[in-house]
């Protein structure tokens, strides 16, 4: 019994370390990537290729004073950044990186990740409301309506997949797709011909759920200054930042697990954790690419996209799959 607890503790520590490392170095990757896209070098002074930039930034943020604005709701203001970071880290616990590299394989893995992802929206609401800043409140309201309206098509898509595979365990989801690219959920199957569309919906929803451009309305810097984290400095801001990148890793992991065969090789050979990492980093690169290419949508354009396009299509897909599953 105590050995299991020890195992879990070690796994959680590794999950935290992985999340923090990813968050720090994805910022570096994002800035370097943006630099390449914009034909400028990006951070390249500290260390080789600027690799020491994240620790330097982290140190700077940690040594700065945490300023709580007058009139702010202190409890909410302090809790919010923690609430942004912790669920993101907790979600790592159940993500299977390979057959054996998984902290805790749960039968309700998918549900747990979505439950934690919903907490992220609350962190933004707390931050915006707690800092008593008009821009913050406006951004928080935007972000919450965005999170709610994009969780629905996302969950409907997940239900479609769960219906097809009959499991909510992330490990079994991947196991069902093993054996090569032709078994991946990404491709249309007899019972669910609209799978590529579902993948696209899920991809767009992931962008929206992680508050990434072109859906970064919660921190639309040209109209809402810095959105919900306007009043945050020092590590409060740092935690929001890390939470955002940790969420991106989770989003990419989920896409990989649900659609791209997890740790399986496209040709069905040598499944390993490296395939998983390769897939999530390719996805993350595409997120970065999209962010630095597109302008931002409007709040009503965003909500229209979800309620008028994504939800009807994903519902149709769900019904179609349900019907075809009966037939075949």
């Amino acid at each position: 019994m105590s050995l299991t607890i020890l195992n879990v503790v070690i796994a959680v520590v590794i999950a935290i370390a992985f999340a923090a490392l990813n968050a720090a170095y994805l910022v570096w990757a994002e800035r370097r990537g943006a630099g390449r896209i914009q034909r400028r070098p990006g951070p390249n002074v500290n260390g080789p290729l600027g690799l020491l930039q994240p620790p330097a930034d982290g140190l700077k943020l940690m040594t700065k004073q945490l300023v709580i604005p007058g009139g702010a709701d202190k409890a909410l203001f302090v809790v919010a950044p923690v609430l942004a970071m912790v669920p993101a880290i907790m979600s790592f616990v159940t993500i299977p990186f390979s057959e054996n590299v998984v902290a805790r394989s749960m039968n309700i893995g998918v549900l747990m990740i979505f439950a934690f992802a919903s907490l992220g929206g609350m962190a933004i609401l707390f931050a915006g409301w707690g800092s008593r800043n008009k821009y913050g409140v406006m951004a928080a309201v935007r972000a919450v309506s965005q999170n709610i309206s994009y969780e629905i098509p996302m969950l409907i898509t997940v239900i479609t997949i769960v219906m097809m595979t009959g499991t909510m365990n992330l490990k079994e989801l991947v196991a069902g797709q093993s054996g090569g690219i032709w078994n991946w959920n990404l491709l249309p199957s007899l019972s669910s011909p609209l799978m590529p569309v579902a993948f696209l919906i899920f991809f767009v929803c992931t962008l929206a759920e992680t508050n990434r451009a072109p859906f970064d309305l919660g921190e639309a810097e040209s109209e809402l200054v810095a959105g919900f984290h306007t009043e945050y400095g020092s590590m409060g801001f740092g935690l929001f930042f890390m939470g955002e990148y940790a969420n991106i890793v989770i989003g990419a992991s989920l896409i990989t697990i649900l659609f791209l065969g997890g740790w399986g090789c496209p040709l069905g050979l040598f499944p390993s954790v490296w395939w998983f990492l390769l897939k999530i980093y390719l996805l993350i690169f595409s997120f970065i690419w999209i962010r630095w290419t597109f302008p931002r949508t409007t709040i009503y354009g965003l909500l229209n996209l979800s309620w008028k396009i994504l939800i009807p299509i994903s519902l149709f897909n769900l019904l179609l799959t349900a019907g075809l599953l009966k037939v075949f």
Partner: protein, 372 residues
């Protein structure tokens, strides 16, 4: 502020956009009365960087005021100094050699392209796309380098003199300008592919931010703002000055009155400016750049003089009332952005803040020019 806040239904709140706000591109303040995301009423507050250029124009001699004019608009400074030298030349009756006028037209158009390029980048950045700014700056840098080589400065030029120029252009400048034209045309195609065709971009501008022709007339809006509302007015065509009648160019006019129309006008204007530069380089005559006879001390005869020029932002007018001394009796600047900005309050009523700030971006504001 402590204790709970009780919000009544239908209650509005005041949002101060500025004086320090990323969307206002300078020290401009807009007091907005907001109902959630909607603007109920907006009130523009100006004057944060007022520097009394008009008064300086009255207690300094005409040449001493010349550098002031390029401090109005740091993006398209040559157009403003051009207005000043033209006004004083008209007042004092100074002849300008043809070569100087051609070089003025070429450099002003180059400066206009640079200004529109920067606007393009900043406007797309207002909409949340950061990358086009970097591409635009790269092209703009080419122009700035070119102008720096002949004028000696990169932003606040003081290149024109009463009667001519400070410095003649050399072959290198001509070569670089010729090389710039195909390069810029290629870039414009790239911008079209990257930005103009983007569905998110079009959805944010198409049919949004209406500024009607009546509104333009009411507030005196000129330049691309008026031309985006279907008003075919360009000082270069309607009240020709300098050597512009010699050039063959079109005035792009769009009737849609929305933010996209104003965007399209500016993008087309860059192409037209390139045409003017091309023709100017072809027709460039040889000769002096300063007149042989020029008064040592500029004392225009008593009278009232007005000169309008088309700058990157619209019609810029200078009124000089002279009493025959070496200083102007009255020095009045009519700056285009001031008029264009004035219609913002009316135009943005009832809009959502995102669209209103896109509308503000499409006005191409340069704050020092509003506040003079």
């Amino acid at each position: 502020m402590s204790g709970p806040i009780h919000i009544q239904p239908g209650e509005t709140f005041t949002l101060n956009v500025g004086p320090q706000h990323p969307a206002t591109h300078g020290v401009l303040r807009v007091k907005m009365e907001m109902d959630g995301e909607y603007i109920v009423k907006a009130e523009t507050v100006l004057g944060y960087i007022h520097r009394m250029h008009e008064l300086m124009g009255e207690n300094r001699t005409y040449p001493q005021v010349l550098p002031n004019l390029s401090r109005l608009d740091y993006l398209g400074a040559l157009g403003y100094t051009h207005g000043h030298v033209l006004a004083v030349e008209r007042a004092a009756g100074i002849e300008v050699p043809e070569r100087a006028e051609y070089i003025r037209a070429i450099t002003v158009e180059l400066n206009r392209v640079a200004s529109h390029l920067f606007w393009f980048g900043a406007f797309v950045m207002d909409l949340g796309g950061f990358t086009p700014l970097m591409y635009a700056i790269e092209d703009r840098e080419y122009i700035l380098d070119m102008l720096e080589a002949v004028t000696g400065s990169r932003l606040t030029y003081c290149y024109y003199r009463f009667g001519g120029l400070y410095n003649d252009i050399d072959d290198e400048f001509v070569d670089r300008a010729r090389a710039f034209i195909p390069r810029m045309r290629k870039s414009l195609k790239k911008y079209d592919a990257l930005v103009t065709g983007n569905i998110i971009f079009r959805k944010r501008l198409d049919g949004i931010g209406p500024i009607s022709a009546e509104m333009c007339r009411k507030y005196g809006a000129t330049g691309p703002v008026a031309r985006g509302a279907g008003i075919d007015f360009d000082v270069r065509k309607n009240e020709p000055y300098s050597v512009y009648p010699e050039f063959d160019f079109d005035v792009p006019v769009y009737d849609e009155c929305d933010s996209l129309a104003r965007y399209n006008v500016r993008m087309d204007e860059m192409e037209q400016s390139l045409r003017i530069i091309e023709q100017g380089l072809d027709k460039l005559p040889d000769g002096p750049i300063m007149p042989k006879k020029k008064p040592k001390l500029i004392k225009p005869p008593a009278g009232d003089y007005y000169q309008a020029v088309e700058t990157a932002r619209g019609s810029f007018g200078i009124r000089i009332v002279s009493d025959g001394t070496k200083n102007a009796y009255r020095f009045k600047l009519r700056s285009p952005t001031y008029s264009n900005m004035s219609l913002f309050d009316e135009a943005c009523e009832g809009m959502m803040i995102m669209d209103a700030l896109a509308l503000m971006g499409s006005l191409d504001l340069v704050i020092p020019e509003i506040d003079r």
